[in-house]
């Protein structure tokens, strides 16, 4: 399979004042294939979100490299980068500016990419419908939407610019179980519709969701990758002690 994203020996150390260092990532390497869905699981603080933030350049790594389609991430302008990578955040409602209508937020990346007003409007309406909302949601404010609806809108926003990579950082964690299922179904539909055109990094602490949705999985603990492999194999046949514990802890 052709690789779209290659992460090599990523280290990330946060300086918290004098001599207090927190190592968030320790030599993390993995790759993401075209059209693949990669799950990252691990407990809180294991460095899952840090990976996402480095790949989207919201954070810079201490050292190590990230290659996107063979180019170093730091050599790609942010404008170009964000046409290729988009993210869905953990908190659906908070990821929308409370003072802007949903339509304006969804259209932001399109406007920045130079789409005309009429094109943008049409595309936003289509996106919202693709994500299971109706086009009149564009005129609503974030607080008028439920968490699930907001997350659908957030997915619509992330897909607006047709990115090659979609990162879902705990995208379903703050939703209740039935809504989680709907969002996963939506993501699944998107994958089927786009095929090789979209690769997904699905970050979660919910093993069942990852099992249902991802081709491959990475298990992280304390900033290190402890196990990596096909989802079914890792979950049925865990080799690492931590992975065993993690799987055993599922009720």
């Amino acid at each position: 399979m052709e690789q779209i994203l290659e992460v090599d020996k990523l280290n990330c150390i946060f300086n918290k004042g004098k001599k207090r260092e927190v190592t968030a990532l320790k030599s993390v390497s993995f790759s993401l294939g075209k059209g693949e869905c990669l799950g990252i699981i691990g407990e809180s603080g294991s460095g899952k979100s840090t990976v996402a933030r480095i790949v989207t350049r919201l954070l810079s790594a201490t050292n190590g490299s990230v290659m996107l389609e063979g180019d170093d991430l730091n050599n790609i302008s942010k404008k170009e980068l964000y046409k290729k990578i988009q993210m869905v955040f953990q908190t659906p409602v908070e990821s929308f500016n409370p003072r802007l209508r949903i339509g304006v937020s969804v259209a932001e990346s399109l406007k920045n990419a130079g789409y005309s007003t009429s094109e943008t409007k049409e595309r936003v309406a289509n996106l919202l419908e693709e994500c299971g909302l109706t086009s009149d949601y564009a005129n609503r404010f974030p607080h008028e939407l439920s968490g699930g609806e907001c997350q659908r809108a957030a997915i619509a926003r992330a897909l607006a610019i047709s990115p090659d990579i979609l990162i879902c950082d705990e995208a379903t964690s703050s939703l209740d179980v039935t809504v989680q299922k709907e969002i996963i179904a939506l993501l699944d539909n998107i994958r089927k519709a786009k095929g090789e055109d979209i690769s997904i990094i699905f970050i979660s602490h919910d093993i069942a969701l990852v099992q249902a949705f991802c081709d491959r999985v990475i298990v992280m603990n304390k900033g290190e990758i402890v196990e990596m492999g096909d989802t079914d194999e890792v979950i049925k046949n865990p080799k690492d002690e931590y992975t065993k514990k993690l799987i055993a802890s599922v009720l």
Partner: protein, 275 residues
């Protein structure tokens, strides 16, 4: 729910008073019964009467006309002053909040220096160096008053700059300038505006204070603070000359403060006064 309507009603009420006050000072030139600068020594120092409701001053000028015209200098210079410090403070605060690091440290230490001096004394020094006059008084007070707004804007910016919607907009490829106007400013402007309105009263007093000390408006411009200052020796003998502009200051400061108060209550859903 009942109380929310009450706050709204109160705000509309004081808002109307503020608008009336502003209209009054805009059209003050047409509202005077006499020429505020015409001297007639034959009627100097007259007590309030039907003809001269507020009496006359030592040059025989009609006090009512002078108080009315004085509203222009007092209110508009105050509003100009508050507008200047709000805008400058907010710009500096947002720059500090967003840039962090060296820029933040340098600008905030400068703000600290200004905050460390007693405001009016420092303003006195600046006004003294620049010389008297209303413009210089505004510059002096602006120089000592912006740090408050800078600190407020900075803390508000810091509070929201890590919000997911800011990061989402970064991912949408929005430039920093656009981000400030589209996402940051609309979400931090509320508390800043309320503080600004609440500051109108204080600034009016400080401006009047500087004028009172002879560093503000120069005669014959009618300005409430300087009117009180010029005639303070007559407080015991002809009190109306000092008291009428004093009452004018009192009333306008009250109106702006009460409006600011209700605006704050209205803007803050958790305010205890709402209950």
């Amino acid at each position: 729910m009942m109380k929310k309507i009450d706050v709204k009603k109160k705000m509309i009420f004081f808002g109307i008073l503020v608008v009336l006050l502003l209209l009054f000072s805009v059209f003050c030139d047409y509202l005077t019964p006499y020429d505020p600068n015409e001297q007639d020594l034959s009627i100097a120092k007259q007590a309030p009467s039907a003809e001269h409701l507020f009496g006359t001053d030592r040059y025989g000028r009609d006090m009512l006309s002078r108080v009315i015209v004085g509203s222009k200098a007092s209110i508009f210079s105050t509003l100009l002053l508050v507008a200047i410090i709000t805008v400058i403070g907010t710009i500096i605060g947002i720059i500090c909040g967003l840039s962090g690091k060296v820029v933040d440290v340098v600008l905030m230490r400068i703000a600290d220096i200004f905050l460390a001096f007693p405001g009016l004394v420092f303003a006195l020094a600046i006004a003294g160096v620049l010389g008297g006059g209303l413009h210089n008084a505004i510059i002096a007070l602006a120089a000592v008053s912006w740090p408050k707004f800078a600190r407020l804007a900075r803390s508000q910016t810091l509070a929201i700059k890590e919000e997911p919607y800011i990061e989402a907009s970064k991912l949408a490829g929005t430039s920093t300038i656009k981000m400030v106007f589209k996402h940051i400013l609309p979400n931090i402007i509320g508390p800043i505006l309320v503080t600004g309105v609440l500051d109108i009263g204080t600034m009016m007093m400080e401006l009047a204070g500087l004028s009172f000390l002879g560093l503000g408006a120069k005669p014959p411009i009618a300005e409430w603070g300087s009117m009180m200052s010029d005639n303070r020796s007559m407080l015991a003998t002809q009190p109306w000359i000092v008291l009428t502009p004093g009452i004018a200051i009192f009333v306008s400061v009250m109106i702006f403060n009460l409006f600011g108060d209700t605006l704050r209550d209205f803007a803050d859903p958790k305010s205890s006064r709402r209950k």
